[in-house]
Symmetry: C2
Subunit: 568 residues, 2 copies
């Protein structure tokens, strides 16, 4: 620290900025303390009575540390890091711990590098956990396979904190050598976990392997066991995964210091209408947690977990990531300061970010001769295994149905809610097309497709006729990624996601409007109101969530953990 800061801290020289007359939320001692906050060169140099070159009288408003999202896939917002930061910084999120495993599945190391570089353009601190599980299984073709040696070149990057969520918990627990090679390489760094319902001795093994956090708790008991065994636990509230209310029941005075908040996967509309980490804090307070503890879980605890020594509190030497609140209990955020700079006022971001054009993450939909893609499903028996959707869930059932067959091939029947589903490999030019049937989606006529299809993000298309399905695939190729709805040879609506087929540099409101329009249109076209038209499809390709899924290699039975024939 330069000598000048010493003079300012001592009060011998005026600070660059002083926030006067604050009620400081001190997460270090659990107190609210009245005073001025002196800021120089992006750092807090003191709290007390200070004079500044610029002074702002906050008239007794609360000031708390900026919020940290402890685990987020920025890609789920469909926004690039710059647009994402414009959305969440006005909501109080000044730093995120991001796992870019979606873009990594499409673009490999280049995707991670893009996220690092694109994030440098924004005032938000985007820390990166290197994706540990690309691809999620061997039963699909992703854009990249990342082994320990592939990650090696990035581990010393200043924004890289460690290894991202180790979703392959069976591999960890069973001692898979390639999995452990990654853990060993990262053993002195942070290692995030992902261990839904892993308990008892399996959990002991998983933690012994070096995994430090978990964001997959869905019950209070699970949280208590994991914290008691040394994990830091994220209380998650995402779009689909709404675990917060239940998990708050497990927070105690003795364990709260090892708890923190995250969103994991949250769609742009949900962030816009409900909030980001501010929502977790607000909800925690509504359910009875003290505001200081809730804010501590959104700041200091996360900073401690990830070794961010200058973040998470309002005290000398800490970065001046500050939120000005007009209402503490309601978490009403008036202004947001990042490293001492006002970046948001009254809900509006005050900064502009030039989009980063990185050709390595553009034009990632690599399929040829779409008009010749064969979407015939051979079902000689006339009895098929069918993916059964469940309202409000991303898990599916495996059901057996009698289907109409002509010349040994499936044909659509208007009276049955059975649609053809295709996963078209789009990374490597393999020509792989996985085909299956879905019950419960509801679309009466046409096709719906997108290039978000966890985790490999191939093209996924559903429809009642092959022509509209091919048109959807062609449209996604032409748009270099995105979402679309087609009917009778026409593209009714679409959203371009030009970055990896996952994100766009378009402004938030354009994105939200398009998605909402398309969701309405889909419902109008018969899609089941109790599922999300696009996001339900996006999870139908994920072969680690039960029960029956579809990858570009074919139908996958998650319970058996193997590809299966559609003939029942």
């Amino acid at each position: 620290m330069p000598i000048k800061e010493m003079r300012i801290a001592r009060g011998d020289e005026k600070a660059f900025l002083v926030l006067k007359n604050c009620q400081v939320v001190n997460v270090l001692n659990g107190q609210i303390e009245h005073g001025d906050i002196a800021i120089e060169n992006g750092l807090i140099v003191g709290v007390g009575s200070y004079e500044g070159k610029l002074e702002l009288d906050l008239e007794g408003k609360y000031v708390c540390p900026g919020f940290i999202d402890g685990h987020v896939h920025i890609e789920s917002s469909m926004l690039t890091p710059s647009q994402f930061s414009k959305l969440v910084m006005p909501l109080g999120t000044t730093s995120v711990i991001a796992d870019p495993h979606e873009i990594a599945n499409v673009c490999g190391i280049a995707g991670i590098e893009y996220m690092l570089e694109a994030s440098e353009e924004t005032p938000m601190d985007v820390y990166i956990m290197l994706p540990s599980c690309v691809p999620s299984t061997e039963f699909e073709v992703a854009g990249a396979v990342l082994l320990a040696e592939d990650l090696q070149g990035l581990i010393d990057h200043k924004k890289v904190l460690g290894l991202g969520e180790m979703m392959n918990y069976p591999g960890v627990i069973q001692g898979n050598a390639m999995v452990h090679a990654k853990l060993d390489m990262m053993k002195d760094r942070n290692i995030d976990g992902h261990a839904p319902r892993v308990t008892g001795k399996d959990l002991n093994a998983y933690i012994s392997a070096g995994v430090q956090t978990d964001h997959e708790c869905t019950t209070k008991e699970e949280l208590l066991e994991k914290v008691g065994k040394g994990m830091y636990v994220h209380l998650r509230e995402g779009s689909a995964t709404r675990n917060l209310d239940i998990l708050l029941g497990g927070v105690t005075d003795a364990n709260s210091r090892r708890l923190m908040f995250c969103t994991d996967d949250k769609q742009p509309m949900d962030i816009l209408y409900e909030g980001h980490i501010d929502h977790n804090v607000r909800r925690a307070i509504e359910l009875g947690l003290s505001p200081i503890t809730a804010i501590q879980m959104a700041s200091l605890n996360t900073a401690e977990c990830y070794g961010l020594r200058k973040k998470g509190a309002i005290a000398p030497g800490y970065e001046a990531d500050l939120l000005v609140l007009s209402d503490l209990e309601k978490v009403q955020i008036d202004q947001v300061y990042k490293k001492g700079i006002l970046v948001a006022d009254d809900g509006e971001a005050l900064f502009e970010v030039d989009p980063l054009k990185d050709t390595r993450v553009l034009d990632t939909v690599k399929i040829d001769q779409v008009d010749q893609i064969n979407l015939d499903i051979n079902i000689e028996s006339g009895i098929a295994k069918v993916i059964g959707l469940i309202d409000h869930e991303i898990i599916t059932t495996s059901v057996v149905r009698k289907v109409d067959v002509v010349n040994g091939k499936f044909v659509h029947n208007d009276k049955l809610d059975l649609l053809k589903l295709a996963v078209i490999e789009r990374h490597k030019g393999t020509g792989n097309v996985g085909l299956g049937l879905v019950e419960g989606y509801g679309l009466r006529h046409g096709a719906i497709g997108l290039t978000i299809a966890h985790d490999s993000h191939n093209i996924i298309v559903i429809g009642d006729n092959d022509e509209d399905m091919r048109l959807a695939a062609q449209t996604l190729k032409d748009h270099t990624g995105g979402m679309c709805i087609c009917m009778e040879g026409e593209v009714l609506d679409s959203l371009q996601l030009e970055v990896g087929g996952l994100m766009t540099d378009a402004p938030l409101m354009e994105v939200v409007e398009r998605i909402e329009d398309m969701n309405r249109l889909a419902i109008d076209m018969g899609v089941n109101k109790n599922i999300e038209p696009f996001m339900t499809l996006a999870f139908l390709a994920l072969p680690v969530i039960p029960e029956l899924k579809l990858t570009d290699k074919g139908l996958f039975d998650v319970t058996k953990f193997s590809l299966v024939d559609i003939n029942a």
Copy 2:
């Protein structure tokens, strides 16, 4: 972690050692939990129900994490690291954060390297904070001057955690360039503080500079301010500095996670009769702190502060540093395990350590022609500035006394309690001899000397006649360091401290017996019962503690921070 540990954690293979039927003190969630602790390869792989190749039924005894001394100068025990570890490990201390600044003042980098190497011979983990203030001031000649570049070569040593206590707090706050060079070099590492009564904006500046801890709090208010400003605070209980009882009044549920225990400077007798960190824990419980919080302050909090991620708790992946307690409230320690190995049983260390013979730290008393040292004090005026001792304190007063003078030189008067004090430079052969007068020591006849004289550790000798004083100096030279009492040309008693003139590889009980004998003899010879005969002398050369002190360069007025003439 090898695959084998996964099998053991899962329970598919027997662990090397299982402590069965324990009441586990879980500092992670504040609970006492019944279970077995499975240990393999020095690490805890699980707590639950386990089988081991070796099983020990603890019959419901408590098991807690090993204690960590958060700030200690091992040299103050007068024992080498190996002997020190044999003393404190049976008391439950399994790791220490040591600042070897005493030996560094004598031997420089070689002294630090000796401490690192000697510590490797013991089962105890000795982590090192690199001494930041060698010498303590420019007004004395020490064995070394350590600048930032001198420390550079050691900062990546696996046992080095950061920069030791930054005692030159005025230099930090005022922006001294050489001081800040050290802080800048260590800015991403741990930096220990030393800021007695530093408060308000000065404290803000000190913390802004990157200092993270403080062990010099003497009041509850001081502790509360420092914790509130982001410091981790050590609650210290040393031989002279007994701050624990008062500071415990400042511990709250909200701040305890940033509090920890230390001893700083504790003499061997005090450790033997009273305890080490176990004493801090025991006393905290006696004064009303919950046992789990007290143990947390002695383990997890310290580990978190210093980034020791595998220490401080009983959970999967943590090192198996474990204490078996037959009484939790009384902290009755039956056995001590270090990395899964039984190292102490019923108060006895179970290991032997070969002393490390390092010639760089031996034979460090470098003075010539002792018989020709001139101890004449010229006081033409007959009115002298005199160092006034205060009972039970290491601070002194500066008093003015009329003294007997013959031929312009001070002469002793049997009716006055005024003794001659000499600090004889012993490192560089400068021939420097600082001379002064002391009131309140009480010695009637003879001389007492030692080679421990903070912080430069020159020879310090007090006496009523020059011949016995020279004999004391000669004895210390002949013994290559230590303590001695001489009278009428005879050495009445002595203790050799052959390592740097500060420590010995002799067994604890020999050391304690010698010191106790010499203390008794000194009292018999008239030394004031309300001071410690040797340790009071050891602090009379420390020019950073008020008010009048003596270095090899002469009389030093700490308030004026300058050398002064003895003539008043």
